[in-house]
């Protein structure tokens, strides 16, 4: 008699790899491919739908048939690892980057990276805003040692193409805006964040930053101390930028760096994801 684990592995081989033999031998009567297909369809349809909800602009850019085909291959390579499908599909942008049939759309993977950041922002945990009086209570010296913790929805993204304009144009079905997109306009640096302003107002904002403002934001989000980040941001109105980040609620906590100044990291802060 097959064990439970053997039964479940046989079912997995059927649903994921289309290998029905092992599980078919375990089934009562002559129930076969037809009934296994019901489960396979539910699995593929459900996970494809989850992917489509996370990547709606990709879905529109490539069309339903292409999307379903790509999703099927992607799911076989990267089946879900947790029963929380809102967080499924992290590897889809890289999958698209290497996906030969999509080679005609060189910006596709970058649009997908933006959609992943947007999705993460939509589903990010709620956090209480930073109590600014905690900062005000610090001595001027300690304020320099503040290392902020970014709100879980905040992400910074570098892309070779104007993916924010493409993303917005596609989701708004704005053909005029899309026609105006210049693919050779150069790289963009984007700030993605969720703003919760009411019970039913919870929108994700995507805004552009210039290179210096992006580096400053990345330094703060990476946990550099305010002092280090300000020192690295010479020549830009960093104090005003910091005030804006705080007012927008982009940080929800902070810790203090050790009193002895640590050597500044040599490498520029990483822009992610």
């Amino acid at each position: 008699m097959p064990t439970l684990l053997e039964t479940q592995r046989a079912m997995r081989a059927s649903l994921l790899d289309g290998e029905d033999g092992a599980v078919a031998a375990m089934l009562a009567e002559h129930l076969g491919a037809d009934r296994l297909n019901i489960y396979r369809n539910t699995f593929i349809t459900g996970v494809t739908k989850a992917l489509r909800l996370t990547y709606p602009a990709i879905h529109r850019l490539v069309g339903a048939d292409f999307f379903e085909g790509a999703a099927g291959l992607f799911i076989a390579q990267h089946p879900p690892r947790a029963a929380y499908l809102d967080h499924y599909g992290a590897e889809f942008p890289e999958f698209l980057r290497d996906f030969e049939p999509a080679a005609a759309l060189p910006y596709l993977a970058d649009v997908a990276r933006l959609e992943w950041a947007v999705s993460r922002a939509i589903h990010a945990a709620d956090t209480a805003p930073l109590d600014l009086s905690r900062l005000a209570a610090l001595s001027p010296q300690d304020r320099g040692r503040v290392c902020f913790v970014p709100h879980p929805s905040v992400a910074l993204l570098y892309a070779d193409y104007p993916v924010d304009a493409i993303w917005r144009g596609v989701l708004d079905a704005d053909d005029a805006a899309l026609a105006g997109v210049d693919l050779d306009a150069g790289a963009v640096r984007l700030l993605v964040e969720r703003r919760d302003t009411g019970v039913n107002v919870s929108g994700v904002d995507v805004s552009r930053l210039d290179e210096a403002a992006c580096c400053f934001a990345a330094a703060l989000c990476d946990g550099w101390s305010v002092e280090e980040a300000l020192a690295a941001a010479a020549g830009i109105p960093a104090d005003a930028l910091l005030a804006e980040h705080l007012a927008a609620g982009r940080f929800f906590d902070f810790r203090l760096a050790p009193p002895e100044p640590t050597p500044s990291p040599a490498a520029a802060p990483e822009v992610w994801p």
Binding site: L15, L27, A124
Partner: protein
């Protein structure tokens, strides 16, 4: 009555409720429909942002039940502790009147197969499910309900009738049973079981909730049909009839209308709930007249 009880309408009444889906968040918030309670899928509220805000607001004056679809009580490899913790997080925030999961599995070798897959009905499966129900109940510090599945396959090595399996889980773990009447009807058709005998095999005292939903019928190449539990239409007459039998056997039980594909307008769901409400009222009268006699 303590202020806490006023602030959190907790217990789920033995009345008709509806499954709350994203499509209806705004209209429910705006119109505050006359429905005794609601239920949501736990997995849809594991992040922050808009969904939780709606749920917080709606839950303020409507008892709420949490129905999980991803814990995989029947996995041979054990429960995912991260998922258990996510469920606990939602429960802490929502303070549900009832919590439930399925007699099914969906995870093997760390892969989530995104469906409620059938278990072989064996002593090994029973032991695995009971161990996991114990684990969930001690983690959540509360009793849960487990739902009978709808299935399209049966395993050759199954040795326990499904209704006996359900009863045994309830008896060994002290959990309750969420009796999905549509699932009984669907599985009975698909496997040639007697739906009334299935109901008769369940312990009435353990029944904590009933689910009702629509299903579809698909032809098979051999000329037969298979019934698919797709929650995409009204409850059919035969399932309402089976529901009346269930109420006669179990007495009035909190009853939920589920609808997950081709979700209709809220009015349609409320109409289905009204039908259940009428049958529940009849069952209530019968209990009272039996008590009086």
């Amino acid at each position: 009555m303590s202020p806490d009880l006023v602030a959190h309408p907790g217990p789920i009444p033995a009345q008709a409720g509806i499954g709350l889906r994203f499509q209806h968040h705004q209209v429910v918030l705006d119109s505050r429909p006359d429905v005794a309670w609601m239920e949501v899928h736990t997995e849809n509220y594991m992040g922050g942002g808009a969904p939780l805000r709606y749920l917080d607001a709606i839950r303020r004056d409507c008892p709420m039940s949490l129905h999980g679809v991803g814990l995989s009580l029947g996995s041979a490899e054990g429960l995912d502790p991260a998922h258990l913790e996510r469920i606990r997080g939602v429960a802490e925030r929502i303070e549900p009147g009832l919590m439930s999961e399925h007699i099914a599995w969906s995870v093997v070798d760390g892969t989530y197969l995104a469906d409620l897959l059938p278990l072989p009905m064996t002593e090994e499966s029973l032991a695995v499910v009971c161990r996991h129900v114990d684990q969930v109940q001690s983690h959540m510090k509360r009793r849960i309900l487990v739902e009978n599945p709808s299935t399209y396959l049966r395993f050759r090595h199954s040795t326990i009738p499904e209704w006996e399996f359900m009863a045994a889980v309830a008896e060994r773990t002290g959990c309750g049973i969420l009796c999905d009447v549509n699932n009984i009807y669907v599985s009975a058709h698909n496997h040639g079981w007697d739906a009334a005998a299935y109901l008769a095999g369940l312990p009435p005292a353990a029944i904590g909730e009933i689910h009702l939903a629509g299903h579809s019928v698909r032809p098979l190449p051999d000329g037969g049909t298979v019934r698919i539990d797709d929650h995409g239409s009204r409850v059919i007459g035969e399932v309402w009839a089976l529901y009346r039998e269930a109420l006669a056997r179990f007495g009035p039980v909190p009853t939920l209308i589920e609808w997950d594909t081709d979700v209709p307008t809220l009015d349609v769901l409320l109409g289905e709930a009204d039908h259940a409400r009428a049958l529940l009222a009849t069952a209530e009268r019968e209990v009272r007249s039996a008590d009086a006699a």
